[in-house]
Every structure is written in structure tokens, then in C-alpha cells.
């Protein structure tokens, strides 16, 4: 799915000057814990999150996340916008909460790109 389609589905606002028609998204994951993201996200995903700090972008860089959606209209700082630009990771904000935004994208056929926790649910 093109990032532009993701944006229009969740009434999102693109905050980076990167062409969303050029970006192909494989699937999505939603989480506020960056450790969860690092453990389970697959490459080329869009990350939906309520966490809004530079670590989200660092995590995205490390885990090959293609784009980040901040739910509940969280606004990234100028520092985050700077990283977004240099690392070519578009930032988007939406009014929807994590559940609604994820649900809309899931319904529209965007695959889950989050691995389940390891078999025996150790924790």
C-alpha cells in the first residue's frame, strides 16, 4: 500500500516534505514500547505509536521502519523533524487513537507486520 493511501485512510497530516506516493508500505505495527518494536517489527512497516520522542526515530532507523504515524495528534519536535529529513523517514499525525487508526488500516487490508511474542509466553 502506498503511504499516501495510508495517510488518506486515517485522515492523517504529513509533517515531512517527502513524497508519500513514492513510498511503499508492506504492513503495520502499533506500539508505545520501543523494546516491543525492536523485538517484533518486520522491515518496511509503518509504525503507529503514541510515543513522540527522538527514540522513536532512532528505533525506526535501526529496525528499517518506513514511516511513523503519531496517534492522538502528537506533534514531533523540530529535532525529530530534522532526523526525519536526514534519514528519509516520513512523519504523519492523526487525530485517531492507536486502536482506531490500527483498525482502519487493518480493515483496508494492510497486513500485520508485528511478530507474535515467542511461543511459551514467558512473561
Amino acid at each position: 500500500m502506498k503511504l499516501s493511501e495510508v495517510i488518506s485512510l486515517i485522515n492523517g497530516e504529513l509533517l515531512s516534505s517527502i513524497d508519500p506516493d513514492e513510498i511503499e508500505i508492506g504492513g503495520a505495527m502499533g506500539a508505545d514500547l520501543m523494546s516491543d518494536v525492536l523485538t517484533s517489527v518486520q522491515p518496511e512497516a509503518v509504525l503507529l505509536t503514541g510515543l513522540c520522542n527522538p527514540q522513536v526515530l532512532r528505533t525506526a532507523q535501526i529496525a528499517d521502519i518506513r514511516a511513523i504515524v503519531f496517534v492522538r495528534c502528537k506533534n514531533p519536535t523540530p529535532e525529530m523533524l530534522e532526523i526525519s529529513k536526514t534519514e528519509n523517514i516520513p512523519l504523519i499525525k492523526t487525530k485517531f487513537g492507536l486502536f482506531t487508526a490500527s483498525g482502519i488500516l487493518y480493515n483496508a487490508g494492510l497486513p500485520n507486520y508485528e511478530l507474535e511474542a515467542d511461543g511459551d509466553c514467558p512473561y
Binding site: 516534505s17 514500547l33 523494546s35 516491543d36 525492536l38 518486520q42 528505533t59 514467558p122 512473561y123
Partner: protein, 325 residues
């Protein structure tokens, strides 16, 4: 990208591309056509028409004693033919006071003039006002493309050299060591070192999967140094042709029960750390998942040493699990 036909505004300049950057860097003298055919003002118009036809000129500078005094264009020739005057010189029909550019100016200055005037060509002068070349939009495009090609080529060479480092240097055991000092509580820089490490590995020719796996493991280790140490610590990465060894070490406070610390979900992180999205107790567990080998040595009151090893020459099952594409 800003409209190509317009001169850049300050706003556009924020989003400047490499090509546009080059327009500010390249000197006109680097892209202009040299050895310009020029004509003297005393040349007969009939002769000028012959030359234009034979050489397929659409304009020529008019020069006297090395100084540019005008330009003869196709429009001037048409005017001459219309008026039908016999026995006239180039000086009777040439356009006087042509707009010129300096050879030391950057290409962007010429682009501004092209944009404003819609001229097809600009004479280029040196400091002494002598004609040294002529510049068309085509010269600029060709010059920019050449410069981009050179950029690309040197980037390729750097990449090639980096990925062949181990082949070029002969020793019994060659390795490259990267060290990063990680400060306690420095959340703002958190993840920087790991991203540099990931980038270095890609540069050295590691696969995307290995670089990602190593990046994730070092990121967790880096965050542990930021969150859980007394004074921060060091990330040391040793890259060898067949393996990567990461060591994260600090001088305290140490871990009381190492077995417990590795358990997923076990955490001693504060509420503040959790608010930043970390401290879920998945760090060491996640490192173990990404690494081929992990060793944690620590005791209360002393420092902690974490060793992570990844082997490069065998395709790991781990890559498939962690990077399911």
C-alpha cells in the same frame, strides 16, 4: 523540489537537492564552452551570414582587441536581410552592451539571468573583461550531470574501498574496532551510536539483515548503558571478516542476579524511563534473540560486561526470524 524555471527563494533553499547545491558550487568556468568563435565588428554582414550558415551558429560574440563589444544573433541577421542594405558591417547590426557573466561566478548566477532575460546564451568574461567563453543552458545541464557523475563515482570508490578493506590489508588477523562513549541519562543521543554502527556495517558490505540484527542488539545495549549505569559506559564493536563482536561495559552498579536480568519482562527501570518507551524488561532478552552468542558478566557493586557475537559467513536462522520479509 522547487520549480526548475524559477530562481530559488530562501524557502526553497531549505529543501535544496544535490543538483541545486551543485549550481551554487560549480563555477561558470567549469561548465562554459571555451574556444569561442568570435567575429570582428569590421566583418561584412554578408560574410557573417555565410559563417552562421556554414557553422550552424545561432549567435556569435563580437570582439575588438580581446574586448567584447556586442553580440550578433539570428535576430540581427534577419533584420539585416529585411532591410536589404548593401555593404554593411557587423557593427551596424550587432546588439550592443550584451549582458555578461564572470567566469568566477557560480552557475546559479547565470541561471538567474537566464530566468530573467530568456537569452539563449551568455558571454563569459574574465577579470580583465576579456571574452573567455560562452554559456548556454545546455552547457549548464551537461556540467551538472558531469559533476553528479563525479560525485557518484567517488562515492562508489569509497564504498568499494570500505567493503574491500579486509582483502587489501594483509595480517594474521585483521579487525576494525569502533568505540562509542555512552553517557548516563543521555536519552537525546540514545540510539545514535547504534545507528552509526549499523551504517558502518552496511558500508563494509554486511547484508541488510545482519546490519539490522546487529543494530537492534547494540541499540538495546546502548539504552542499557544510558538507563542502568552509574556513569555511562562504552560500546566497543570489533568487525572481522567472519564475525562481529560487540562489548558493552560499564563500572557499575552491576547486576545482582544475572539469570533473572535476562528473563523477559524483568525490569528495574523507573517510571520516567518507561515513559520514554523503554525499560519493559525486554532488552537483554531481545539482544539474546538477535545474537549468535551472548554472555553477560556482572556482579553487584562491580561493573557489567556484555558480550554479543554475530557470525557473518553463515546465513542464520535468526535473520529469517527477525527479518521476515
Amino acid at each position: 523540489m522547487p520549480n526548475n524555471n524559477s530562481v530559488l527563494s530562501d524557502n526553497d533553499a531549505i529543501e535544496i537537492s544535490r543538483t541545486e547545491e551543485l549550481a551554487y558550487e560549480l563555477k561558470i568556468s567549469e561548465v562554459m564552452s571555451k574556444n569561442v568563435k568570435n567575429i570582428p565588428p569590421t566583418m561584412k554582414m554578408e560574410t557573417a551570414i555565410d559563417i552562421f550558415q556554414k557553422e550552424r551558429f545561432s549567435g556569435a560574440p563580437v570582439v575588438r582587441n580581446h574586448q567584447l563589444i556586442g553580440i550578433l544573433s539570428i535576430e540581427d541577421l534577419i533584420r539585416y536581410l529585411r532591410e536589404g542594405r548593401q555593404d554593411t558591417d557587423v557593427s551596424d547590426f550587432m546588439t550592443l552592451n550584451p549582458i555578461t557573466v564572470q567566469h568566477n561566478d557560480t552557475v546559479i548566477e547565470a541561471l538567474k539571468i537566464f530566468d530573467k532575460t530568456h537569452f539563449g546564451r551568455l558571454p563569459v568574461l574574465n577579470e580583465n573583461g576579456e571574452l573567455v567563453g560562452i554559456l548556454t543552458k545546455g552547457d549548464i545541464s551537461a556540467g551538472l550531470l558531469n559533476a553528479l557523475q563525479r560525485d557518484y563515482h567517488s562515492e562508489e570508490i569509497i564504498r568499494y574501498r570500505a567493503s574491500h578493506l579486509f582483502e587489501d590489508i594483509i595480517s594474521d588477523r585483521t579487525s576494525l574496532i569502533l568505540r562509542y562513549n555512552i553517557r548516563k541519562g543521555d536519552f537525546n543521543q540514545g540510539g545514535n551510536a547504534s545507528n552509526y554502527i549499523k551504517r558502518a556495517l552496511l558500508r563494509m558490505g554486511a547484508s541488510k539483515q545482519v546490519a539490522r540484527r546487529c543494530g537492534i542488539a547494540t541499540y538495546e545495549a546502548e539504552m542499557n548503558l544510558i538507563i542502568h549505569t552509574n556513569h555511562g559506559g562504552t560500546l566497543r564493536v570489533e568487525i572481522e571478516p567472519h564475525k562481529i563482536t560487540v562489548e558493552a561495559y560499564d563500572d557499575g552498579p552491576g547486576i545482582e542476579d544475572v539469570e533473572q536480568a535476562i528473563q523477559p519482562g524483568f525490569s528495574t527501570a523507573t517510571h520516567e524511563v518507561r515513559e520514554k518507551g523503554f525499560g519493559a524488561g525486554m532488552g537483554l532478552y531481545n539482544i539474546k534473540r538477535c545474537a549468535d552468542e551472548m554472555q553477560l558478566i556482572s556482579s553487584k557493586g562491580r561493573g557489567t560486561n556484555l558480550y554479543i557475537t554475530m557470525y557473518l559467513n553463515k546465513i542464520k536462522e535468526k535473520d529469517e526470524n527477525i527479518n521476515k520479509d
